[in-house]
């Protein structure tokens, strides 16, 4: 049993290991056509080549700005809408909720062309606004937070109302603090999803200086004279390592948010 499990782990991790191993090999070893797990001669040359070939720091900053912007925007719009749908006596709130949740059934490919058209008409191609704003809302986030807010004891909200607090104060002083775990969990998911996304930045960020990591990385592929495999693996390692380290440090928390996100649906 351990044998099977270890085999599964080895197969899953191998691509990442091979990426690192290639990244520290000199070209003669990369193209030797023999199978060697570790380099015979260790080199950091590929990392230097990667840093000079693409503006990797700039890509990193772009990824960070977009992921952070989308996460904050999605969290705020989700909290507000989920609060209204879960706890406020507004007419037709179930219709509103359905309006948001139904968007989860619409694949991105269906809305992609008109959204691209809109963003390009507003001259927002190659801007952070164009990368962030069209993704500022998520039916999934509203769904998750409404579930969480509804399980809040009624007496808590009631007590705040009787204290004379208005709905805005009640939201930030009672509802949000009581649900901080759920909010943190969905925010982690928003961040990971945006950090890793490819299609929307591929369309919007055509300018080199505005690309995100996953998009900018592809510059190494299919260059004239062939793909630069060594530098590509070095760049991939640099792009993946921060995410992987963050994951290993916060693994318990990240795994939990993925699981609750999955099972509550």
């Amino acid at each position: 049993m351990h044998g099977l499990l270890c085999l599964a782990c080895a197969l899953i991790v191998f691509p990442l290991f091979w990426m690192l191993s290639t990244a520290v090999k000199p070209p003669q070893e990369i193209f030797a056509g023999t199978f060697r797990l570790s380099p015979e001669r260790f080199t950091l040359e590929n990392f230097r080549a990667a840093m000079t070939a693409v503006p990797i720091v700039r890509l990193f900053v772009n990824s960070l700005v977009v992921a952070f912007g989308v996460t904050v925007a999605q969290a705020v719009t989700s909290i507000l809408a989920a609060y209204a749908c879960a706890l406020m006596p507004i007419p037709g709130r179930n219709v509103w909720f359905a309006f948001f949740v139904a968007t989860m059934m619409i694949p991105f490919q269906v809305t992609m062309i008109p959204n691209y058209l809109l963003v390009s008409k507003l001259e927002l191609l190659n801007t952070y606004t164009g990368l962030i704003v069209p993704q500022a809302v998520t039916g999934f986030g509203i769904f998750m937070l409404r579930q969480a807010f509804r399980s809040l004891p009624r007496s808590l909200v009631e007590a705040s109302v009787l204290d004379g607090a208005n709905s805005w104060q009640t939201l930030w002083r009672v509802v949000v603090p009581a649900n901080r775990t759920a909010i943190a969990a969905v925010s982690i998911l928003f961040f990971i999803n945006t950090w890793n996304q490819y299609l929307w930045p591929l369309l919007v960020a055509t300018d080199r200086s505005m690309k995100t990591l996953p998009v900018g990385m592809q510059e190494f592929v299919n260059l004239e004279g062939g793909t630069m495999w060594g530098p590509l693996m070095a760049a991939a390692s640099m792009a993946i390592l921060p995410a992987l380290v963050a994951y290993l440090l916060a693994q318990r928390y990240i795994l939990e948010s993925f699981v609750t996100a999955g099972l509550k649906e």
């Binding site: 099977l4 499990l5 599964a8 782990c9 899953i12 691509p15 990442l16 990426m19 990369i30 056509g33 199978f35 705020v76 989700s78 507000l80 809408a81 209204a84 406020m88 006596p89 507004i90 309006f99 059934m105 619409i106 694949p107 490919q109 992609m112 062309i113 008109p114 959204n115 058209l117 993704q135 500022a136 809302v137 009787l162 709905s167 805005w168 950090w195 890793n196 996304q197 490819y198 369309l203 996953p214 990385m217 592809q218 190494f220 592929v221 495999w229 590509l232 693996m233 991939a236 792009a239 993946i240 995410a243 992987l244 994951y247 693994q251 795994l255 993925f258 999955g262 099972l263 649906e265």
Partner: protein, 305 residues
């Protein structure tokens, strides 16, 4: 008079809540309208037009885009490939994680967590970057896959430029990426099943396999349904990135699929109307199939419980 004061506070909250509550809905509602529902309608309208993404006018063409789509070879190849991928994914990325999860529950919790962390790791990294790595692994001459095969005397194919293998190269990467997430969901599902149930079965003389088949598996049905449905629904979307990076739908459309076709028609052939028709067909097809599966599965689960 605390009671009267409470009444006043409640009435005040109720009166103001209608207005403020609607106000709180507005940011999400406006954004959803502008960036999801409007584009959905625009896509539908656009699918009855011919437009090259730059000309100032859309030319109305009636059902022409749909007629052309249903008569085109790439579309049917894309349908077949998406079907293959959805079938392979729902089989491999559901059964393997289920088996692994059932196994991992029998080891000690610390080691279990180690397996969990390792198997889940592909889920947190970017598919686009992972695909760059797989591109190198699949390299026909220097890629590690063919190097290892050569060691055991097999000359591997050109994985991504062979018409027979390209779609499987894509499916393999997608399975690799989604396996860990499903595995973690199965562990959570299995942990919710009371262990006395399995023990009772063992006391009654059931073998391990019988206990799993007749006790665990039926009780796990809601998790299985969830994992199955999400894997299926997301299949066309999850195929996009590996297709765009590994094969561009080639060679000669052999690895094209519905997730990639829309992008290809729109942003590589600049036929926005035609691409929108393909998007609408994909959307309705998967909506219909999902509803059907849901209906069938719900019935089955009700019968069993």
């Amino acid at each position: 008079m605390p009671f009267a004061r409470a009444q006043v506070a409640r009435a005040r909250w109720r009166r103001s809540a209608v207005l403020t509550g609607t106000l709180y809905l507005m940011p999400a509602a406006l954004l959803t309208g502008v960036f999801i529902y409007w584009p959905l309608v625009a896509s539908l309208v656009l699918s009855f037009h011919e437009w090259n993404l730059v000309s100032p006018t859309w030319t109305p063409v009636g059902w022409q885009n749909y007629i052309e789509l249903f008569a085109s070879r790439p579309f049917w190849l894309a349908v077949v490939n998406t079907g293959k991928a959805a079938a392979a994914l729902t089989l491999l990325a559901v059964l393997i994680p289920m088996a692994l999860a059932a196994m991992v529950l029998r080891v000690s919790p610390q080691i279990r967590n180690l397996y969990r962390v390792v198997l889940f790791s592909p889920s947190v990294i970017s598919m686009a970057i992972a695909c760059a790595v797989w591109l190198w692994i699949y390299h026909p001459l220097y890629g590690v896959l063919n190097t290892v095969l050569r060691l055991v005397g097999i000359e591997g194919p050109r994985w991504l430029s062979s018409g027979d293998w390209a779609i499987w190269g894509i499916i393999n990467v997608t399975v690799w990426k989604s396996l860990g997430y499903n595995f973690v969901l199965f562990i959570a599902g299995l942990l919710m099943i009371p262990s006395e149930m399995q023990e009772a079965a063992r006391v009654d003389g059931a073998t391990e396999w019988q206990a799993f088949r007749h006790v665990t598996f039926p009780l796990l049905a809601p998790t299985t349904l969830f994992v199955f449905l999400t894997t299926f629904i997301l299949a066309p979307q999850n195929l996009f990135v590996p297709t765009q990076i590994l094969t561009h739908g080639g060679p000669n459309e052999a690895s094209n699929n519905l997730g990639y076709l829309v992008y290809q028609l729109g942003f590589e052939y600049f036929r926005a109307g035609y691409a929108s028709a393909a998007a609408m067909v994909t959307f309705l097809l998967f909506l219909g199939l999902t509803a059907l599966q849901f209906y069938l599965a719900e019935r089955r689960i009700h019968y069993e419980s």
